[in-house]
Symmetry: C2
Subunit: 442 residues, 2 copies
C-alpha cells in the first residue's frame, strides 16, 4: 500500500520523468495499477503509456475515459501522438475514433499527415514540431520568438534552428551552439556569411528508407536531422531517441528473422498470432527435414548392413549446421552494418571458406579418431572425416553465399537464409557420409 500512498501525492509525480513512473507502474498488480494510472498527471499520462511495454496499453485504455485519453494525446508531440493513436486503434477501434473526434483540428491534421507514411519511410519517424526562422531575421528577434514558444511548451529538446525560405524550403541548419556565438544584432544571413563554418544541412527525405537515414545519423554523428519532402520543403525532424529505438528494432528484426520468428507478431500479446507465424517457419523446416530424410532413405540398405552409420550420421549434419550458422550470422550482420560493401563479397567468401576448411580438417581428424576408437573400424573414421570436411566446406561456402545472393537479389538476407542453409548442410551431411560409407566400407 505504500506505493499507492506515494501516488496520492500526485504533485510529486508531476516532477518525475514519465519513464520513472512507468517503471513503478510495471511492478504493480492489476488492481494497484488501475488505481495508480488514474493518479498520473494528465500531462504525463500519454508519455507514461508509451513508456510502458505494449501489453499494458489495454489496462491504460480500460482505466481512462475518452476525455482523459484525448487530453493525454493532445499533450504529446506529433510523432508520439501517431504512436499513441496506433496503439489505441489496436486495442479498441471504437474508442480510438471517439478520441480522434475530440482532438483539435491541428492535431487531427498532423496525425493524418504522419499516418500516410509507410513504416519503412523516414517520414513515419519524424515529429512536425521544429524551430524555424527566415534568413533575413535579426538573431535577437528569433531568440525572443523561441523564448515565447518554449514558455508555451510548443518546443522541446531543441538543438537546431532551421532556416527556411518563404516557401518553407530548408536552406540552412544552425546548431544552437553556433547561434549562441552569432552577433545578435545582425541577421542570420549576415552571421552565416561571416562565419567559416558550413551550415549546409545534413538532411533526410520523407520518403527515404529509414535504414538509410539511420546510416546517415551514424555516418555524420548527428543527434538530430531535418526531414524534407521531394521539393526540399521542411517537414519535420528526427531525433536521436528515435534512432536508438530504430537501431534496436532493426537488430531485433534481424535476430528474429534468422531464427524464423516474426518481430511484429511477437510484440502482440496474442499467443495464437505469434504461434501461427512461428508455425509457418517450422512448416518450411519440416519440408527441409523431410528432404534430408529422403536422402537417408536412399541408403536404407547401407544403414541396414551397418547400423553404426545411423548412430554417427547426425554428427556430420549437426556440425555442418553449426559451422554454417556461424558463417551465416557473421555475413548477415556485417551486411547489415555496411561492413561488407559490394566489392567485398569475394573477400568475404574466401575468408569463410578458409575458416571452414581449417575447422573441417580439425574436426575431421578429431571425429575420425573418435569413430575409429568407438567402433574399432579405421575406415569408418576415414569416412566420417571426409564427410566432415565436405560438409563444413559447404557450410562455409553456402553460409556466405546465401545472404550475399539474397542481398544481390534485393531480398532481406536474414529472412529464410537459415532454412536454406540447414537444408544444404543436412542434405550434404547425410549424403556425403552415407554415400562414402557405401562405396568405401561396403
Amino acid at each position: 500500500m505504500n506505493e499507492i500512498k506515494n501516488y496520492i501525492k500526485s504533485h510529486e509525480m508531476s516532477e518525475m520523468h514519465p519513464s520513472e513512473i512507468a517503471t513503478i507502474l510495471r511492478g504493480m498488480d492489476d488492481e494497484k495499477f488501475s488505481k495508480a494510472i488514474k493518479l498520473v498527471p494528465k500531462k504525463l499520462v500519454g508519455d507514461v503509456a508509451l513508456a510502458l511495454p505494449d501489453r499494458y496499453f489495454d489496462d491504460v485504455v480500460e482505466n481512462l475515459s475518452v476525455d482523459e485519453l484525448s487530453q493525454a494525446v493532445s499533450e504529446l508531440e506529433s510523432d508520439d501522438q501517431v504512436e499513441f493513436m496506433q496503439e489505441l486503434e489496436d486495442v479498441d477501434e471504437n474508442v480510438a475514433s471517439k478520441v480522434f473526434e475530440t482532438l483539435d483540428e491541428d492535431d487531427k491534421k498532423e496525425i493524418t499527415q504522419l499516418q500516410k507514411y509507410n513504416e519503412n519511410e523516414a517520414g513515419a519517424y519524424m515529429q512536425l514540431e521544429v524551430f524555424t526562422a527566415h534568413a533575413d531575421e535579426i538573431v535577437q528577434d528569433v531568440i525572443k520568438r523561441f523564448a515565447r514558444l518554449r514558455k508555451e511548451n510548443e518546443l522541446e529538446n531543441v538543438q537546431n534552428l532551421f532556416i527556411v525560405d518563404n516557401h518553407h524550403k530548408l536552406l540552412y541548419s544552425v546548431g544552437l551552439d553556433d547561434l549562441l556565438i552569432f552577433d545578435f544584432s545582425k541577421t542570420i544571413e549576415e552571421n552565416i556569411k561571416e562565419s567559416d563554418e558550413s551550415f549546409e544541412p545534413i538532411k533526410a527525405y520523407d520518403k527515404e528508407d529509414i535504414k538509410v537515414v539511420v546510416e546517415r545519423f551514424k555516418q555524420y554523428d548527428v543527434s538530430v536531422m531535418p526531414v524534407v519532402n521531394e521539393h526540399g520543403i521542411l517537414r519535420g525532424r528526427i531525433t536521436s531517441d528515435d534512432i536508438y529505438d530504430i537501431i534496436n528494432e532493426h537488430a531485433t528484426e534481424q535476430m528474429y528473422n534468422l531464427a524464423g520468428v516474426d518481430d511484429e507478431a511477437e510484440d502482440d500479446e496474442d499467443v495464437l498470432k505469434a504461434g501461427r507465424k512461428r508455425a509457418y517457419w517450422l512448416g518450411i523446416n519440416l519440408l527441409t527435414a523431410i528432404a534430408a530424410s529422403l536422402v537417408i532413405g536412399l541408403f536404407e540398405d547401407t544403414i541396414n548392413s551397418m547400423v553404426a552409420l545411423a548412430v554417427l550420421m547426425p554428427i556430420v549434419a549437426s556440425m555442418g549446421g553449426n559451422a554454417g550458422t556461424q558463417t551465416l550470422t557473421v555475413v548477415v550482420r556485417q551486411l547489415a552494418l555496411g561492413e561488407i560493401s559490394n566489392g567485398d563479397a569475394w573477400r568475404s567468401i574466401k575468408k569463410e571458406v578458409a575458416i571452414s576448411l581449417m575447422n573441417g580438417f580439425l574436426f575431421a581428424v578429431v571425429m575420425g579418431i573418435i569413430a575409429y576408437l568407438w567402433f574399432k573400424m579405421p575406415m569408418l573414421g576415414v569416412v566420417i572425416g571426409l564427410s566432415m570436411i565436405i560438409n563444413l566446406l559447404m557450410a562455409g561456402f553456402f553460409g556466405a553465399m546465401i545472404p550475399l545472393a539474397l542481398k544481390w537479389l534485393k531480398i532481406d538476407p536474414a529472412i529464410g537464409s537459415t532454412v536454406i542453409l540447414t537444408t544444404v548442410t543436412d542434405v550434404v551431411g547425410f549424403f556425403s557420409f552415407l554415400w562414402l560409407a557405401k562405396i568405401i566400407l561396403l
Copy 2:
C-alpha cells in the same frame, strides 16, 4: 585515375566530411588508396582512419609517417584519440609507442586516463572535452568564453553547459535551448532559480556498466549525458553517436554469441583467430552431438529391426531444435531489451510453453500422417507424433528456461544457451522417438 585527380585538389577534401572521404577510399585498390590517404588533409586523417573499417587501419599506418600519425592523433577528440591509439597498438606496438611519445603532455595524460577504464565501464566511452561554468558567472561572460573556445576548435557539437562547483563537482546541466532564453545579464544561479524547469542533471557514473547507461539514454530520450566519478566530480560526457555504436555492438555481440561466434575475434583480419574461436564452440557442439549419438546407440537393435526409424529420427530432432531456437531467440532478446522484468519470467515461460504445445500438436498431426503414408504403418505415425509433441514441449520450456536461468545466475543469457538447448532437443528428440518406437512398435 579520375578519382585520384579529384583528390589532388585537396582543398576540396578539406570541405568533405571524414566519413565521405572514407567511403571514397573504400572503393579503391591498394595502390590508389596509398596515394589518396596521403592527400587527406592532416586535420581530417584521424577521423577518416576511424571511419574506415578496422581492416584498413594497417594501410593507413603503412602510408603515414610517425609525425603524420602523431598530428592525426592530436587533432582528434579524447575518446577518438584513445580509439586511434588502440588500433595503432594492434597494428604495430612499436609505431604506437613512438607516436605516443611525440604527443603533448595533455594528450598523453588524457589518453592514459581514459585507457584505465574497462571496456564495459561508461568511462571508456566518454570524451573529456566539456563546456563548464560556475553558477555565479554572468551568462554573458560564459557565452564569450564559449565563443573563444569554439574559435580555438576546443569544443565541438556542444548541446549542454555543465555547471560545476569549485571542486568541479557537477551541480546542473543547462541545455543550450535553455541558456538561450536566460537573462544574459544575470548569473546562471539567478536564472536557474527564476526558471521553473529542472536543471538536475541526468548523469552517468564513470565506473557504471555501459549497458545500464545506454538504457538510461533510451529511458530519458537524451542525446548527451555528463559522466561523473564516485564523488560527483565531472569527468566528461557521452554523446548520442557513441550510443548508436554501442547499441549496434551489443546487438552484434548477442547475435554472434547465440551463433557461437566471438565478436572481437571476427573483427580481426586474422582468419586463424576467428577460426580458433569458432572451433571452440564447434568443439562443444561436437560433444553434444556425440551425446545425442550415444542415445541413438542405445537403440541399435531397435533401428536394426526397423530401418525406417533411422530415416525419420532426424526430423524430430530438427523440429525440436528449430522450435527451441525460436523461443530462445525471443527470450534472449526480450531480456536484453528489458521487456522481460523479474516478475515476468513466469509469464514468459507460460507463453512459450503454450506456443510450443500448440505447434507440437499441429506438427504431430502433420508428421504423423506423412509417416503413415510414407511407410504404410499407422503406429509409426503415432510414435513420431507423440515424440514431436514431447520434443517441441521440451524445446519451448527449455528455450525459455535456459536464458532465464542464466540471467538469474548473472551469466550472459546469449552465451552458450544455444548449445545447451540443442543438446536437450537432440537427446530428447532421439530418445523419445526411439524409445516410443521400441515399446509401441516392437
